[in-house]
Structures are given as C-alpha cells and as structure tokens.
C-alpha cells in the first residue's frame, strides 16, 4: 500500500498543455490532433500562436473523441457531431434537473 498522498491536476480551462504534452496525454500522433483541430473538434487556446496550447477541458474532449473513434468506429465529422450533441444533451439534463429537482437527475 502506497501511503503517499498523490495530487493530480483538475482538467479545466485554467490548465494548459503544450502541443507535445497534449499528444502524449492522448497517446496519439500530432497528425491526429491536427485533424481534430481542422475538424473543429478541438480549439487551441490561441489559434494564431506559433506553438499551439490546449486546455484541460480540450484534453477531456480529445480523449472522448479517441474512445468514440476506437470503440464505435466513427469518423471525425461524426465525432464532432456526437460530441456537440452530447454537450447539448448534458446542458438539457442540467436544465431538466432544475425544473424537476426530484427526478430529473438521470
């Protein structure tokens, strides 16, 4: 048993990763990441910058994209659509939770 208390990083918009760190964290090639940016699935923090950086939120999105691609064999436009729809569904679920606080959690 490891008694040491480990601290991680919360993946939100305050966290930024360099392009290389981002590719490594996704276990994917730089080409794959570039394709996701071109498809609009991901957006670098500053698109004009010489060296792209990505937020922690983008990492969560990229990993979901990778799982959908691997598990469901969805192509990139399909992934972009699925992720946008899932985000919308989550927002609607939250709003439903607001209207039906007792049973709208699901």
């Amino acid at each position: 048993m490891n008694e040491r208390l480990l601290s991680g990083i919360v993946l939100d918009d305050a966290v930024e990763l360099t392009f290389d760190e981002f590719c490594l964290a996704c276990s994917q090639s730089s080409t794959w990441v570039v394709e996701l940016v071109e498809e609009g699935v991901l957006e670098p923090v500053d698109t004009e910058a010489d060296h792209w950086r990505f937020t922690g939120t983008s990492l969560v999105r990229a990993q979901a994209a990778r799982r959908l691609q691997r598990d469901l064999d969805v192509n990139l436009p399909g992934i972009a659509l699925a992720l946008d729809l899932l985000e919308e569904i989550n927002e609607l679920r939250e709003r439903l939770g607001r209207l039906l606080p007792d049973d709208g959690r699901g």
Binding site: N2, G8, V10, L11, G56, D71, R93, E94
Partner: protein, 314 residues
C-alpha cells in the same frame, strides 16, 4: 466461474453471420458507450458487449467457443474442459485499447487480455502503459473542503519472464477543494507501467457527487430549499441556513409574499471564481390542527382583505 452466453449478450442467434454480429455490436456499443449513456450500468454492459464481440468477431475464437456446446446457460457454473481448445490457434494482439476488465470466464478460455503464453516481448519492444480511468464518489462537502480517497486499481503487468499478471495497487489521492461534478483529475504516470522503458500511462479520476438530500448542484452553483413560516416571510426575519460550508445567517426581506430565490454570493463551490448558493424560500403553512390554530386562521380570513385569485378575475 459463471458461463457467459455471448450470443445472448449480443442479442443474436447462434447461427448469426459475421455481418449480423458486427451490426449488433455497433448498435449495442453506441447504446452503452460510457461517453454516450448516463445509465448506471452502461459501463458494465459496454464491457460485456465488448467481450462478447471480441470472441464472436474472430472466427477462430467463435469456433472454439461454439464447440463448448449449446447446452450451457448464462450464469451456470463453468469449468473449461481439458484441452477444450485443441486444434485452435488464437491470433495474438487482436485486442486494442482497454483490453483489461474481461471476465474470469473469458480469461479462462482465451487468456488475459487476449495474450496467450508465448507473447514474450522481443528486444527493443517498447509500449507506453495504458491509461486508467476511475470514478470517484464524493460528497458536496468534500468539494468545499477538499478530501482524500483511496483508489484500488487492477492493472495487467508484464513480468520479466514475459507473463502477464494482474497486480492490484492502492493509491491515496488528494481531491482538491473546488472540484465540480464531472470534472476529471489527471495523475500523470499513475496508470499502468510502460514496457521496455516506455513511459507509464496516466490515471484519470472522474468526479461524481453523491446525491444530496438537501442540496442540488449545477456547475459551481448550489441550490437548496429553505422552508420558512408565513410570518417570517411577511414580517421579515433573520434565519440560520445550514450551508455545505457551515451555518450562515440570512435575512429574509419583509414583504416576501411568495416563494422566491435568494442568492448568497460566493457561497457555492469555492474556486478562483466561486459559485453562488441559491436559497429557494419555501413558505409553508402551519396546520390548523388545534382550536387555537383554527381561530388564528379564522381571524385572518375575517380581518385580512386577501383574495389569492384576484388576478384570475373570478
């Protein structure tokens, strides 16, 4: 160990074509994919379907599985017959991604994660360790104060002899103050170890709040209902509110005539820009269950010119 009926899991007949099996898999995988479904058992079902497909999509494995016989029922106690797989060759390395987590039934037949003996690494063989994903249940109060959790992980590891063994390890992880529902924490290098000197994978923890009887959470904001008496609403009062951060005194403005929401700025989940706590005032009526209470209601009826249906034009 329990027998698993992979045809039943996939919802196809035993003589289904490879095409039908693929179609069934795609449909079920979309339905139960943990990134898509919010059902509590989605992840488990997704793994079941993935395991069934790993066997049925591979003609060799499917043939070997089929010759176990049709008489087995799902859940029945099962031991593989000796030399059950004689004459079959299983292709190695056909498992991409998160191969871990297949059932004992699967492993007794096809080996761990699809690697059978002989999968010995060659010189110069380098593979980055797998990432691990786990859900962590915390209470809302933990997000206000921070907490720590013990996480047990089972991970396949390659011994120096080239055998795959499952090791369990326990990690103590700090849950930082200010985390929100659905957020992920990344612990770099805490996934499976790499092979041949390659870097280890990462560990990702997804934060999930236990449902709370008193609070509802939306992003950084927290909502709660506060029952108040009609006179507290009408005359104004100072009430003590139990918030996740402790007791707070709050003023109910005089002249509150209907249920409304009061905002306690910055009393939501803490952070650089903390959320707010919304207190939904819920005016409740005392029951008229005694002579005295009835008298008071009668006095109100007779003395107050109040028509709640005035605007309805009745």
């Amino acid at each position: 160990m329990e027998f698993r009926d992979y045809y039943e899991v996939m919802g196809v007949s035993r003589d289904a074509t490879q095409d039908e099996i693929k179609k069934a898999y795609r449909r079920l995988a979309r339905k139960y994919h943990p990134d898509v479904s919010k059902a509590a058992d989605a992840e488990e079902r997704f793994k079941e379907v993935g395991e069934a497909y790993a066997v049925l999509k591979d003609p060799e494995k499917r043939a070997a599985y089929d010759q176990l016989g049709k008489n087995w029922k799902s859940g029945e106690d099962f031991r593989p017959p000796p030399d059950w797989d004689a004459g079959f060759e299983f292709s190695e390395g056909s498992f991409g991604g998160d191969a871990g987590g297949f059932s004992d039934f699967f492993e007794s037949l096809f080996g761990q994660g699809g690697f059978r003996a002989g999968g010995r690494p060659q010189g110069g063989f380098r593979v980055q360790g797998e990432d691990h994903h786990a859900k962590v249940l915390i209470d809302l109060e933990d997000a206000y104060r921070g907490a720590s959790r013990s996480i047990s992980l089972k991970a396949p590891e390659l011994t120096p002899e080239g055998r795959v063994v499952t090791r369990e390890r326990t990690l103590n992880v700090r849950i930082p103050k200010g985390v929100r529902q659905g957020q992920r924490i990344r612990l770099a290098g805490q996934g499976s170890p790499g092979i041949g000197g390659a870097p280890a994978g990462d560990l990702y923890l997804e934060i999930e709040f236990n449902p709370h009887t008193r609070y509802r959470v939306e992003g950084r904001d927290v909502f709660m209902r506060l029952p108040i008496a009609p006179w507290e609403a009408a005359l104004g009062s100072s009430v003590t509110v139990k918030t996740p951060a402790g007791d707070v005194d709050m003023k109910v403005p005089a002249g509150t005539t209907r249920s409304r929401k009061l905002r306690l700025k910055g009393r939501g989940i803490p952070g650089k820009s903390p959320g707010d706590l919304y207190v939904e005032l819920d005016i409740t009526l005392p029951p008229a269950d005694s002579e005295k209470a009835k008298k008071l209601y009668e006095n109100m009826r007779d003395e107050l010119a109040y028509d709640p249906r005035e605007r309805m034009g009745a």
